[in-house]
Every structure is written in C-alpha cells, then in structure tokens.
Amino acid sequence: MVQAIVREEQQTKQEMKVLQNQPRENVYETNNLNLWYGDKHALKDINLNIQENNVTAIIGPSGCGKSTYLKTLNRMVELVPSVRTTGEINYRQRNILDKGYSVEELRTKVGMVFQKPNPFPKSIYDNIAYGPRIHGIKNKKVLDQIVEQSLRGAAIWDEVKDRLHDNAYGLSGGQQQRICIARCLAIEPDVILMDEPTSALDPISTLKVEELVQELKENYSIIIVTHNMQQAARISDKTAFFLNGEVIEFDATDKIFSNPSDKRTEDYVSGRFG
C-alpha cells in the first residue's frame, strides 16, 4: 500500500521536525478567497493558513460562512449551483480552485465528516469498504484489513466487530457518526474536515468523538467547524473566528478564549452574542 508508506514517511518527517523544533508545514494556504452564492457575498477576503497535524477549529454564529469555508476546502460547495469563487486555496502548494485540479483526487486526500451521521443503507462492512472500492481495491483480504484498521482508528471496532454485516442503520446515532469517521479514514486521507460532527449527538457520544479527534490529530490534520465554543476550547490547537463571511481573528485557541485581541471575538466567546 503505497499510500501507507508515504504516510509513514510523512510521519517520520513530522517526528523529526518536532525533535528539531521546526515549525509545522501548512496543509492549506488560503489567499484572498471570496465566494458568492448568486448575489450573496458569503466569504470575504479570507486569508488563513492551516497547519498540519493540528486541530483547527472554526467558530462563529450561524450564517457566518464557517461551513461554507469548510466545504470550499474539498470543493463540496460546488454542489450548490450558482456558486462563484475568486482567490486561491493552496493545498500542499497546489491551488485546488484551478480548473485542472480534479475534485475526485482532492477528496481522496481530504475526507469529510458531516453534521448528521450519513451512513449508506448498507452493511457496516460495505460502508467502510465503499471508499477503497471506488478507488479500485478489489482484493478481499486488503479490504478486510482496511475495514478493521479504519474501525479501530475510529474507536468503534470492539462495538461492531461481531456484526460487520449488519445494516449500519441499526446502530445508534453516536455509533453511526463514528462509522462515518471510520469510512473517512478508510480512504487514508491527509486532512479530515468535520462539519459540526457532534451537533446531532448526545453528550456521551460527543465525548467519544472529541476523544477520537484528539487521537486522530497524531496522524491527520483536522479542521472542525463547531458552534459549541467549549468544544473548540477543549479540542483545538488553533481557532478561527468567523463573522459575516470574514475572518475576525485566527490564533492559538488559548489566546482566542483567554485574551482575544478583537473586541468582537471577546464578545462572542464570552457569550454576549451568537
């Protein structure tokens, strides 16, 4: 598995960098990104650099563009007709908004977990194997291994290992969401985008997903949109505060929540609006 080997190499590089105290590389560099839905200017001059092997949280009130920005990072936003963008988003030094950039290739490297758990109406096994299969893996043994590793990676293997061929719809909402995370891990992504992944879950399931995010950041770069500020404070390394389609402040999470430099950020994180 070439991808796995590449990942290992990346990891070793990462470890060396940590040892040498070098700054982490940026996975995403967004330069002057503007986005319109028809006439509505939804994102205004976004400039954000997102570092690898970090959890980056995006917070802000409803309609501030945080989900739109997240969906631009894997170009899912294009599913909405009448979307128009200017500026550039460089993923590993290549502009993904270029016409020539294949979205299929991008989405193989940038996985996504959605707000509502959305497993396919198939067995747990087929859900996890879906990604590898569409990318051409047919070998049953390899698929078995991917399924097991992905489910282990999403900390749900022990709960489902005896019922891999049952329909995923029989699981609880929290389990379904971790199945969706496992399904995302199965394509061996580099980045995982999470769009309010716990907003439809109960507190215990939320806790499990949050713990999982902490584990996953060892190997993946995670960008998570959340409307839950405590969650952002608990799990993220850096936080971006969006308001009306603009980035108001982007800094280390500690700083955003204890000593923000913008008055509006302070108002929002202290619960005065939003």
């Binding site: 899912m76 299929e104 989405r107 193989t108 109406p121 879906y130 969706c180 399904r183």
Partner: protein, 292 residues
C-alpha cells in the same frame, strides 16, 4: 390573557365532534363504494367465466365455437409483447429519469421538458396507437408485429415510468450523495453504487404498475391493426400476433351469449396476470423498503 373563552369552547364542542364523525363516515363511504364496484365486477366475472376456465381454454386458439375457443395465442402474444416493452421502457425511462434528476441543470428548458413529460402521461392511449401505426408499422416497416406493438406500448408507459423513477431517485437523501462525493467518488460511481440501489424499490414498483397497464391496454392495438383471428403462436419478434385484451374485445362483441362467458373467462386470466404482477410490486416494496 383571556383570548380563549372556555364557555364558548364548551358550547361549540358538540358541533365540532359531530362534524368530526360525519367526515370520517363520509370518507369510509367513499372507500366502500369503490370497493363495492370492484366486488360486483369480480363477482360477475367469476360466476360467468369460471365455467369456461380450463386447461383447454389456456391451450386452444380462438374459434367460432364458444366451447372450443381458447386464449393461447393472446396469452403468449401478450407475454411476448411484455418481453419487448420491459427492457425498452425500463432502459429509456430510468435513463431519462436519472438524466433529469442527477445531470440536467434546473433551468427553464428542463422545467419545460418536465411539464411535457407529465402531460404525455395524460395523452389518450389511442393517440399513441396512431403514432405507432405511422412510425413503427408503416414508416419503419415493422408491420403488425410484436416489435411494433411493443415499441408503441413502451412509448405509452414511458412517461409514467419516467415520473415514477424520478420520484424514486429524488427521494434518495442528498446526504448519501454528499457522503459518496466526499470520498472522491465520481458522479457515475455515486449514481451506480448509492443512488440506484437506494432508488430501485421505488423504480421497480412504479415500473411494474406501468407494465401491467401495458398488458391491459387495447386501444393502441386496435389502431395498429393487431388481428384477432390468429391460429398460430408467434415465432419471433417480427411475427404477427394477437393479445389478451384483443381477444376479450372480440368475444365481447360477438352476438352469441356463450361468447360473453368466454370473454369473462379471458378477463379472469388477464386479471390474474395483473394481480400477479402487482403482488410482485408489493413484495418488492415491502422487502427492499429502506429507512433513511
């Protein structure tokens, strides 16, 4: 807050409850009336036709003598026609539905096409018969063959299949498509592996109902000129043939009273075929029903 006067509410209660009961019974009456019509029809058919139902009836060709008349040519002809209609209408109908739902941009042109498909579903079947006569029988020189009749019937039920398939495709939640696209699947992979499997129960249910309409339709066959007196079984797709409803139509027209009973027996066979097809539709719907 004193907007709700409880005395007034109580006074009106009886009236409201009476209305409630009246409407319930009204709708019950409507249902029973519809059922009654069906029961009377079935009763007449069974009492009149059951006596003529026999293995001979299924094996014989039509005849001048009521006791010798049989439906074999019609039964085989109808099933052969269905063998043309099913692949043609399913392929065209599901294909068009997928194009309209998954690929076509939502603009004025597609709205116009959509509107016309719905209108086509309401065009009288005799008009499709004329179309079939002009194009398939005469222009393309297919004659009064199984192929010509099958293609005409396909055109007739195509709008129904398109609309049913579109609804089935549309009812697949967008979140499933997003999940698939989000993993780097192409549009075709998403359609083939996610949308179609989830939509297939709905597509099949609607299609089988449409196909059973194709079996029962008579007018287009009359217009095409499908013969009634056929003393042989079709030997190929371009063979002349006759169909169940044509035989029933012919027997019902004859002056001898016995032929009315033969017609009733033919209707019983047709009805059993339709009930069989509809139960397949119900079975599929129950078996593959997905919860999203």
């Amino acid at each position: 807050m004193a907007y709700i006067n409880h005395e007034v509410v109580e006074r009106q209660m009886t009236k409201r409850r009476t209305k409630n009961t009246v409407f319930k019974n009204l709708f019950l009456g409507a249902t029973l009336l519809a059922l009654l019509a069906l029961v009377v029809l079935m009763y007449r058919m069974i009492t009149q036709g059951a006596g003529y139902l026999s293995l001979d009836f299924l094996q014989n060709f039509s005849s001048r003598f009521p006791e010798k008349a049989g439906i074999s040519a019609g039964l085989v002809g109808s099933l052969a026609m269905l063998a043309v209609v099913t692949p043609v209408s399913l392929f065209l109908g599901v294909g068009a539905a997928i194009y309209l739902e998954e690929y076509a941009k939502k603009n004025k042109v597609t709205t116009f096409i959509q509107m016309n498909i719905s209108n086509l579903a309401g065009v009288p079947s005799i008009v499709f018969g004329l179309l079939g006569l002009t194009i398939f029988v005469r222009m393309l020189g297919m004659g009064k063959s199984i192929l010509a009749a099958g293609l005409t019937m396909s055109l007739l039920i195509l709008p129904v299949i398109i609309v049913a398939a579109q609804e089935a495709v549309r009812s697949v939640p967008g979140s499933l498509r997003e999940a698939s696209y989000g993993m780097g699947a192409t549009k075709w992979q998403t359609i083939y592996k996610v949308v179609l499997p989830a939509a297939i129960p709905g597509i099949l249910t609607g299609s089988i109902l449409a196909l059973s309409r194709a079996i029962g339709e008579t007018a287009p066959l009359v217009v095409i000129g499908i013969p009634v007196i056929v003393q042989f079984l079709p030997d190929g797709i371009l063979s002349e043939f006759t169909a169940l409803p044509m035989l029933i139509f012919d027997w019902a027209k004859r002056p001898q009273e016995e032929f009315q009973y033969v017609a009733a027996a033919g209707i019983l066979v047709l009805m059993m075929l339709l009930i069989f097809m509809n139960s397949i539709a119900v079975f599929i719907r129950n078996k593959f029903q997905n919860r999203y």
